[in-house]
C-alpha cells in the first residue's frame, strides 16, 4: 500500500449527502476483473452527459478542480454497496484524500486499505472548506492529524491510531496479520475444543436434485 504522510492539493467540492457507490462506480461496470483504469467510469452520471460525452460544465472538469487530489463532500459518502471498485475508481482519478461529514462504513475501510485517506470533519468545518475550495490548496497532515484550509484555518481530525500507523507506514495488512499466525492457530484450537460443530466434517453438501 502507498504511504500517506502529507498532501498539499486542490480540493473539489461535491457538497451532497448520501453519494452512494452506484454514483461513484455504476454497477454496470462491475463485470470487470481489473483494479486499475476504473477512473474513466467514476461519477459517470456527474462527469458525463446523457449521450456519453464528457460534460465540460461538470466541476470535476473545470480548472482548478480538474487537478484536484482531495474530494470534499457531505454525509454518508460511499453508502450502499461494498464494492471496492468505488475506491479504486476514485484513486484512479488521482484522488489521495476524501474529506466528508461522514462515510459509509465499508467504504471507509476500503479507502484505508488502498492508501486513500478518509477524513471526517464537522458539518461547519466541511462547509467552510467547501466555500473556500476555489481559493487555493488544502494541506493535509496525517502525522499531526490536521487539515489546513486555503485561508490558513486549522481543522484537527480524529483517526484510529492503528489505522493511522498503517497508512503512515504503508503497511501490508496481510503481512502484518500473518506475523500473528500463532495467535490465529491458538484461537482455532480453542474454538475447535469449545464448538466442535464448526469444524465437523464432512462439511460439503450435495445437490438434492441429483
Amino acid at each position: 500500500m502507498e504511504k500517506f504522510k502529507t498532501l498539499n492539493a486542490i480540493a473539489v467540492p461535491l457538497p451532497r449527502d448520501n453519494v452512494d457507490t452506484d454514483i461513484i462506480y455504476p454497477g454496470k461496470y462491475l463485470t470487470t476483473i481489473a483494479r486499475t483504469g476504473l477512473g474513466e467510469m467514476a461519477f459517470e452520471t456527474i462527469r458525463y452527459r446523457a449521450d456519453g460525452s464528457p460534460d465540460p460544465n461538470c466541476i470535476f472538469r473545470q480548472p482548478p478542480f480538474d487537478r484536484a487530489e482531495i474530494l470534499l463532500t457531505g454525509h454518508n459518502f460511499g453508502c450502499g454497496s461494498s464494492r471496492e471498485h468505488a475506491v479504486w475508481a476514485i484513486r484512479d482519478l488521482g484522488f489521495r484524500c476524501i474529506i466528508a461529514k461522514s462515510f459509509g462504513d465499508t467504504f471507509y475501510f476500503n479507502c484505508l486499505t488502498n492508501g486513500l485517506l478518509a477524513i471526517t470533519l464537522g458539518e461547519d468545518e466541511v462547509d467552510r472548506l467547501v466555500s473556500s475550495a476555489g481559493d487555493g490548496k488544502i494541506l493535509v497532515d496525517l502525522e499531526n492529524q490536521r487539515v489546513q484550509g486555503p485561508d490558513g484555518e486549522i481543522y484537527p481530525f480524529e483517526m484510529d491510531g492503528f489505522q493511522r500507523d498503517c497508512l503512515l507506514k504503508g503497511l501490508d495488512a496481510i503481512d502484518l496479520t500473518l506475523q500473528d499466525e500463532d495467535l490465529i492457530a491458538a484461537f482455532e484450537a480453542q474454538q475447535r475444543a469449545e464448538q466442535p460443530w464448526l469444524y465437523a466434517s464432512p462439511s460439503r453438501t450435495t445437490d438434492p436434485s441429483q
Binding site: E84, F109, T177, P196, W197, S203, Q210
Partner: protein, 474 residues
Amino acid sequence: MQASAPNTLYDKIWQAHVVAARGDACALLYIDRHLAHEVSTPQAFEALRLAGRGVRRPEASIGVPDHNVPTGDRSVPPAGAASARQIRLLEENCAEFAIEHIPLSDLRQGIVHIIGPELGLTQPGMTIVCGDSHTSTHGAFGALAFGIGTTEVEHVLATQTLVVRKAKSMRISIDGELPRGVTAKDMALSIISTIGAGGGVGHVIEYAGSAVRALSMEGRMTLSNMSVEAGARAGLIAPDETTFAYLKGRPKAPQGEQWEAAVQYWKGFASDDAARFDAEITLEAAAIQPLVTWGTSPEDAVPITGKVPDPKGISDPRKSRAVERALDYMGLAPDTPITDIYLDQIFIGSCTNSRIEDLRAASKIVKGRHVAKSIKRAMVVPGSGQVKRQAEEEGLDRIFIDAGFEWRQPGCSMCVALNEDKVPPGERCASTSNRNFVGRQGPGSRTHLVSPAMAAAAAIRGHFVDVRNWPNGS
C-alpha cells in the same frame, strides 16, 4: 469475558472472536464463515496468487455465482463475455483453492444471502463476511455479519481473520403488533425513513421488541438485510426458539449430539438486561403503514396514503435541492399522491424479498387476477433453486404465470441489473429490492421500493394501491 460488566449481543460476539488487539478501537477478529460470489472476488484470488499465498481454511468459505447470472434459459451461456468470465473464474478459483462451489446447474444455487441460511451455514454467534453489503441479512440469526471489500476478502482467505473497528451499538425496539398488510419490509423502510440513510453510520443495530420477536426467520432476514440501507455496519437479532427451529436439520447446521451443545452455546447470545447502548430508538408496530419510496435514497419513503414531497416546502436549502434532484430523476411532480404513480415494471426478488414467504404473500394478491395491461414487464425471481422448487410444489409458479408474470431462475437479477434483467431508461419499477439509487436497476431506471404484497398489488392495478384494502386480504 468480564462477568461483571453487562454486555450487548454485539459485545459478546465481538469478544468471542478477538484474536489480538489492534490499537484502541480495532481488533483482529476471527471469521467463521466467508461467502464468495463472482463479482467481488476475482481480484482477491488473483492477488493471492500473485503474492504466493494460500487459503487458510478452505472449508470456512463457499462460492456461488449470483450477481450476474442469467435468470432465463440456463442452457445458454450468460449474456456478455465479461459476466461469463466472472462466473467461470469463481468456479476455477474455488477449485484451485479447494473451496466448495455451487454451480449454476445445482438446485442449491441462488443469491448468496438466501442460500447461506437455507443450507444452515449461517448460525448464531458467528462472524460472517462476504464481499457484498447485504451480508447484514445473516444478522437475523444473531451472527455478526457484514460486507467487506475485495482486499478484505483476500485478507480473510489468507488469514481467516480481519482487522475490524469496534462499532457503536444502537438498539431499535419495535413493540406491539404489525397491522394486517404491513410487513418486515415496511418495518425496515420505516426505520430508515426515521433515522435516515446515514442514521446508523458507525453502528451495529440490534433489533428488539415484541414485533421483532413475532417475525418469522424470513421476516427477520428482510429486516436485518436493510440495516445497511440505514448506514449500519450490521444488524442483529438475538437467537431464540424461532431461530433454532429454522436451523434444525439443515444440511450445514450442527447434527446429532452436537446440535444440543450448539443450541446451549447459542442461547448465551443475547444482550444482558443491564446492557447499555450508545443509541436507542423506539417505534410502535401499530403505527407502521405500507411504505413506498419516491426518491433515490431508501430514506425517501412515505406511507401509501401519502404524497411526493414538495422541495419548496423544505427550509434546509441542501435538502430541498436534494429532493428537487431526486424528483427530476424520478420524473415525479411535487405533491403527487403515491396512489397516482403508475408503473412500467414489477420486480419481485432480491436478497431482501425472494424467500418462500415473500412469494406466498405476493401470490395471494395475484391469485385469479391478471397484471394490468399498462405494465410492460412483471417478473418473479426466486432467491434460490430450492425456493423456486418449493414454490412450484405449492403451485405458486402457476399463479404468477397465469397472472402474466415471468417465472425466472434464481439470482440477483433486476436488483443490481448486472445481467440482462434491467429496467429500461426512464421506466418506473415497483421493486421488492433494497436500493433505489440512481441507475441501480439499469441506467436511467426509476425504482420504488415496496414489500412483495405491495409490488404484486401494483402489478394488478398498474399503479400503487393500499394493500390493506385488498379484497380477500393480503
